[in-house]
Symmetry: C2
Subunit: 461 residues, 2 copies
């Protein structure tokens, strides 16, 4: 009998996170402060707790996962590694397709892996309250879930248009005891200023980040900090438990290394979580093709330059060395809301610069069509973001068939689509289309960063 | 370390279903045909395929699960048995609380266990299309999922008010390739007749059943059959895989038998699935308290008589020997939609008559409050139906604390609440209340069955 679920015992859960910063052939470039010189850790202390800033700056290869964090992760981890045998049979491919099922977390995606860790470190540092922003709501739900278990207040600024259009995610945050407000709100200077100028604005992730940071920094008691769900080094670090588990699980079925690894990318965290532990092997000589998949509607990796840019739209963050479409770039409202980000995690960006991973862009319609095949064979409903990884896994399985090669393909099933049925309905009724970013528009949005410091000028490491 | 997830290997999945009809101290009374005499199997052949009618009538103790059905169930089975250690710690109870997690199925509940089996037997019998009804949509989704994998057409009549109010479940059926129409519809005589008299009716489960059966029976080619998601013997049989797995999993952590078993009840199938394999032990001398929990708003077991009644509102089914509130009883629109059923599975009903299980009724508000504690400790979002089992498990754990007894409590986590957030929002905003059925209303609804044959008149077995 072919084993379809490879389950790891709780006692075998990884006890350390893997930090790619220790092994990147070209060390990470520094983030830059407002004056354009490398950022001092101290400058982040009003925004993040010191213990997380240390992790953000660390180049230590292995970082212990505190037992108390594992104790929370056990609620759903180790996550199953599954084999998509029914899809394989349908494709008549000699390839084996494995996927790490991160949809089993209570919030429905990989996001709680870092939400729990961040909430725990903040609590340990004496923080009482976390603020954050959320677009479609996945991240806000994950942080609400973590704060509710750990005993922190949680305040989520949710982009107004999502707040109005996606009431379910908002209720999810509420059942986990978080306060969720529409952004722009009347609760911050940034929010009030924007509302006075544009009372009918649908809001944006950039505005919501500004509000969340402002509330954290404005707390004179020092008991509030801000939390981010992707992009940063420590966030990606927390996600590496995904790949570390997958390695052990593949070993259980006799796979020494996968041939192809795939993950969808928005800010980069689910992709990094699965891929980074295998990147270690690749850096040390293993032959593995590693593919981050982005939407053609937001082609950060496939069409953006590697440059210094802000992480948010409003320009409140340090300048980060990354692939970017320009911080003012507003992606089309595709249904894979989690992939609508103008930039990319610096660690992922540097891995691309070093030739270790090979990004690829997929159309929305192709991704939904792949989801329909998945529903017909494996049976489950993937998140619109996840369909990008599925579409690529299918392509790679068909390529293996053409080549007659028994490849092992591994991808990250980053979340379920139960809260994303509206997009499916639109696809089924023929109401969706593809979108390609016109060259002119890209040029225009990159104008905004043309005078920023250039990565080449900074010493690496 | 306390083990929180007890995982069964795929190779150890139960290979047979357990049929309680073989062991009930008092054999089941027969269902009755329109003329009031015991039903002949032949009379069901236009509605169900012969192989399932055989199962419905069988008194064989063990029935083989075909390998092809297991091959489909492996997509999510064996389901995890989990231990609610965080809830235990919060309650400071010496009891151990285990729960079988049926929310992990692709449709989000225990329903696919029988949907897959029914679809498979129908396909084997040469049937091309299944019709069914659905209220809130759980069952319709499960059957859509199963038919899509097995290759059957699926037509779901969804109660109009749910069709309009719960678009997500409707879309879920569509992504699994089912046709979902609002009932009453223009596609059947029953539907047209009702629409001509009451064009604005919100519909009812009774009407939807009538339409689904009519479409199945009306297909002159004989290629269409009807499928029911609870109540019937073969449906409960298919669910016993839940309890059979749980037995093996408890043995893995050294538990010979649980002291208390709990499940919520609407038609009875998730409760029966967990409890029946343990009822076998109880019948053979084991001391186990077995509690089906129903809502006070629909108190079938705690206030209804054991009587012959129709399974549907319109009176199209045979008369079944069961606890009932009268087939015309329309329960209040509580959010646990799956528990809004006037009757109860005959097998569960007979087990109550034989003193083997002890039903209990819980208020809606108490159940939601229990869910909030669950969210704060275990972290996951239960279906409103499931909250009834959780509320009872908490009560039993607190009782064990009072008694100072290290009891083992086992309940069925029948489904997740991700599609039921509207009820939670109403609870959080204080918009929910409890409802007790007035004595007068109960009397009135029981009027309708006063002249039906009485169970006492029929020879048992």
């Amino acid at each position: 009998m072919v084993c379809k679920k490879i389950l790891l015992d709780e006692k075998d859960i990884p006890k350390k996170w893997y930090n790619l910063a220790a092994d990147l052939p070209t060390p990470l470039l520094p983030a830059l402060g407002p004056d354009g010189s490398p950022l001092e850790p101290k400058m982040l202390e009003k925004v993040f707790p010191k213990n997380l800033i240390e992790q953000e700056m660390s180049t230590k290869r292995w970082i212990d996962i505190p037992e108390e964090i594992l104790e929370i992760l056990y609620r759903w981890r180790p996550a199953p590694l599954r084999r998509a045998v029914y899809l394989e049979q349908h494709l008549k491919t000699p390839a084996r397709i494995y996927y790490k099922d991160e949809s089993v977390s209570p919030a429905g995606s990989h996001k709680p892996n870092t939400a729990v860790a961040q909430a725990w470190y903040n609590k340990k540092f004496g923080i009482k309250k976390l603020t954050t922003e959320t677009g479609a709501g996945q991240w806000g739900c994950a942080l609400a879930f973590a704060c509710n278990l750990i005993g922190l207040e949680c305040k989520v600024y949710m982009v107004r248009i999502s707040f109005d259009q996606k009431p379910l995610r908002k209720i999810m945050m509420q059942v986990w005891n978080a306060k969720c407000v529409a952004s722009p709100s009347n609760e911050t200077n940034a929010g009030r200023e924007i509302l006075s100028k544009m009372p009918d604005t649908p809001g944006s992730l950039g505005i919501a980040i500004s509000e969340a940071i402002e509330e954290a920094v404005a707390d004179k008691s020092g008991a509030t900090r801000y939390s981010l769900g992707s992009v940063l080094n420590h966030v990606l670090l927390h996600q590496t438990i995904i790949g570390l588990e997958a390695k052990k699980q593949l070993a259980m079925v006799g796979v020494k290394k996968p041939d192809v690894i795939i993950g969808c990318v928005g800010g980069g965290s689910n992709f990094a979580g699965l891929a980074f532990p295998f990147l270690y092997d690749k850096i040390h000589g293993a032959k593995i093709k590693i593919i981050p998949v982005e939407p053609t509607a937001c082609p950060t990796l496939t069409r953006g330059p590697f440059a210094y840019d802000f992480g948010d739209t409003a320009g409140m963050t340090p300048l980060l060395p990354m692939f970017t479409l320009g911080h003012g770039f507003i992606p089309e409202p595709i249904h894979a809301g989690g992939l609508r980000y103008h930039g990319m995690a610096p660690l992922v960006s540097q891995a691309i610069m070093d030739g270790l991973v090979e990004p690829r862009a997929y159309d929305q319609l192709k991704c939904y069509a792949s989801a329909m095949l998945w529903l017909k064979t494996e049976g489950t409903l993937p998140a619109p973001e996840t369909t990008h990884a599925i579409a690529c896994a299918i392509d790679e399985a068909l390529k293996a068939k053409k080549e007659g090669k028994k490849k092992v393909i591994l991808f990250n099933y980053s979340g379920h689509g139960l809260m994303d049925l509206a997009g499916y309905a639109k696809f089924l009724s023929g109401g969706l289309s593809d979108y390609y970013l016109p060259e002119e528009d890209l040029k225009k949005s990159l104008e905004a960063i043309k005078n920023f410091p250039k990565p080449a000028k900074f010493k690496r490491g």
